[in-house]
């Protein structure tokens, strides 16, 4: 029983992102730096597209 609990906990630690939500934290999406990065990404993907064999959504 205990070993099952340990195993489950270990699996969670390996798989989980574990980021903690902070209500007071701001979203930085409107920062110029990130806005420019998105524009660059759009240009790159517009030019080269996406992989042809992207794995199916699970």
């Amino acid at each position: 029983m205990f070993s099952k609990f340990i195993k489950k906990k270990k699996e969670k630690a390996l798989k989980g992102g574990n980021a903690k939500v902070q209500k007071s934290m701001k979203d930085y999406s409107k920062e110029d730096f990130f806005v420019k990065k998105v524009e660059t990404a759009k240009e790159v993907l517009g030019k080269w597209g996406l992989p042809k064999d992207l794995p199916a959504n699970k």
Binding site: G17, M25, D27, Y28, F34, K37, V38, A41, W48, L54
Partner: protein, 152 residues
Amino acid sequence: MNLDRYDCFTDPTFASFSFDSVGPNGTIKKIVNYQPIPDAVWPDGRQVVNLGFGDWNEEEQKVDDSTASNNQDRDKILATVACTIISYCEEYGNLPIFAQGSSPARTRLYQMGINAHLSEVEKLFVIYGLFNGSWKKFEPGLNYDAFLVIKK
């Protein structure tokens, strides 16, 4: 990820994450941001998302990546960024995530981090690299221009 990583925090929308890099050059606040890339939608409807990564410049009150922090914690930082991908995907689903450094040197730095822990990384993610204008499954030894990461 079974790698050492920093505690990280997210805003309530899971669009931005922050954590502190601690090392010989002090404490540097790192910001990871996820935003949909306009017009980049996979045929099955999945939105492609950009991963932006920079330092919070306290003096100028803005994000940038103009300085190399040299805090000797590259792998810990990359493991923490990987954890933000997992957190983001737990919230929004397994969306393809595009990542590119601000310079070829920075993109190479990401690549070295992936290479160093490839067996760990491949357990959790499928990674493609943009090489000479075409996307290939990531393999060591090639210098890629950008990456596309999909959580398994």
